[in-house]
Amino acid sequence: MTEEIIIAGFGGQGVLSMGKILCYSGVMEGQEVSWMPSYGPEMRGGTANVTVILSDERISSPIINSFDTAIILNQQSMDKFESAVKPGGLLIYDGNGITRHPERKDINIYRIDAAEEATKMGSTKTFNMIVLGGYLKVKKLFKLESVIKGLKKSLPERYHHMIPVNEKAIHRGMEIIKEVATVS
């Protein structure tokens, strides 16, 4: 199994840390992982993306240009990465601020209104964990306990009291993700 993922959105949305938690979850299950961020003069409000690869085999290139899954969290990223999903692949997006919805007919499309849900939950910082939950609902990549372990590994100890909130957010994401269109 190899899963090649791009997570793209605004800086500050937790794009990079979501990728890191995915990687650590993979490590917990003995997988090979790679995490390649776009780095540069980026900052809160600018665009940020990360390429994550999870595999049972040695990972060749950490840099790729087509993906099994694209998790898209703003319009710029939709414009850039909708076309980069492999046919039959998966696109998950947050509807918040999206003016042009995905149009492809040859991929599976899911929508998760995580920004709205995070506000409702009273903690905007759980946004990325809601998205992660949605993704894990659609693609059952790991056991939930590996994800929680991964979360523990990637969070500094001083934030470990936040783990229950994050776990709740993952569950909420699993509940609210909606199918838009699928191909068999």
Partner: protein, 355 residues
């Protein structure tokens, strides 16, 4: 048993430096390698091993701190990125001319000048052909994974002390910034004993140890040059390192190091799915360069594509190696752009198979 951790290449270098028993790290922050000194500062190596961690006032100062520390027989290192490494060239030449061991990490970014902060491989000439003045060589190691970023720290020190020669780890912004699994060697103690050539104060039982790169007597200087060259010859004979992937049945060959070699592995999978029998030759030591091993491949394959994030630097060594026996071409991107796997397959078709 040590477990796998997830780390950036830059962080892996820093942790490996502490574990290798480094006596002193001297550096000045620059993107894309600032995580090295950032990690070290957080890890408090002064408490773990007594290692000195010092942010110098400039790259020129850091390399000269290395010169001093190495002269005292200590395990010393620095890290920087391209513009910073350019500033260090005078010191590197002096260290080579004084036959001192040290470790220099270059996490390359695009140039020339301040260039860009994105990854590049355009410092190949500078690293392998002597970026400073005089007839000297660095031993140059090219990691292609976060694990190798860690492993090459202790390997680098071993080679540096074995040959009393500066060693460079030539990485790039992509490997510096990406995270992969890495497993570290256990903590090595710092050396208690100094090498017998170190300037640690004269004792009555021996002559003075003198460390200098200056000899105004041309005859003596030439004798020294000959001694250096003999050392380099021995290194070329004994320390060539490389990796061959799917070369057994290869009709074509990618030659690539570092990040490019990783991308080429994906290109290789794609090309093989189309029935193109392609292998990958990955030099691990860029100096000494695996000339003989690439020459051997020239008898087997119909063409070689050197893939680098540069205008074409290593390709000159590949051409030297094959002595015109087989077609060699270059494909690369510059300015901090990383070539994509399919772009490389296309270049292979156009420049080697069809060209």
């Amino acid at each position: 048993m040590e477990e796998f951790v997830l780390m950036k290449g830059n962080e892996a270098i820093a942790e490996a430096a502490i574990r290798a028993g480094t006596d002193g790290y001297f550096g000045y922050p620059i993107t894309p390698q600032s995580e090295v000194i950032e990690y070290l500062a957080a890890a408090k190596p002064q408490e773990r091993t007594g290692m000195v961690l010092l942010q110098a006032e400039s790259e020129v100062a850091s390399i000269n701190m290395l010169y001093g520390g190495a002269g005292a027989g200590k395990k010393v290192m620095t890290s920087s990125s391209s513009p910073g490494i350019s500033l260090m060239q005078e010191g590197i030449s002096y260290i080579a001319g004084s036959e001192l061991p040290c470790l220099i990490v270059n996490v390359v970014r695009g140039g020339p000048g301040l260039g860009t902060i994105q990854p590049s491989q355009s410092d190949y000439f500078q690293s392998t052909k002597g970026g400073g003045h005089g007839d000297y060589n660095l031993i140059v190691l090219a990691p292609a994974s976060v694990q190798e970023m860690a492993d090459f720290v202790s390997l680098g020190y071993d080679l540096a002390f074995k040959y009393r020669n500066p060693v460079m780890i030539l990485s790039d912004g992509a490997i510096g910034q990406m995270m992969e699994k890495v497993k570290f060697k256990p903590q090595q103690p710092r050396n208690k004993k100094s090498p017998d050539w170190a300037t640690t104060g004269k004792t009555p039982d021996r002559e003075r140890n003198i460390i200098t790169s200056l000899d105004l007597d041309p005859a003596r200087q030439e004798r020294f040059n000959n001694k250096l060259q003999a050392k380099y010859k021995e290194i070329c004979k004994k320390e060539v390192r490389y990796e061959k992937i799917q070369c057994d049945d290869a009709e074509y060959l990618f030659v690539a190091y570092g990040t490019s070699s990783r991308i080429c592995q994906k290109s290789m999978q794609m090309a093989r799915e189309e029935g193109i029998k392609i292998g990958l030759f990955r030099p691990i030591t860029l100096w000494p360069f695996p000339y003989n091993e690439i020459r051997e491949m020239a008898g087997q394959v119909k063409g070689m594509l050197s893939v680098e994030m540069s205008a074409g630097q290593m390709v000159e060594d590949v051409r030297l190696a094959v002595e015109g026996k087989v077609k060699v071409n270059h494909y690369g991107r510059m300015g901090g752009i990383i070539p994509t796997p399919d772009e490389i397959v296309e270049a292979l078709k156009q420049k080697i198979i069809g060209g």
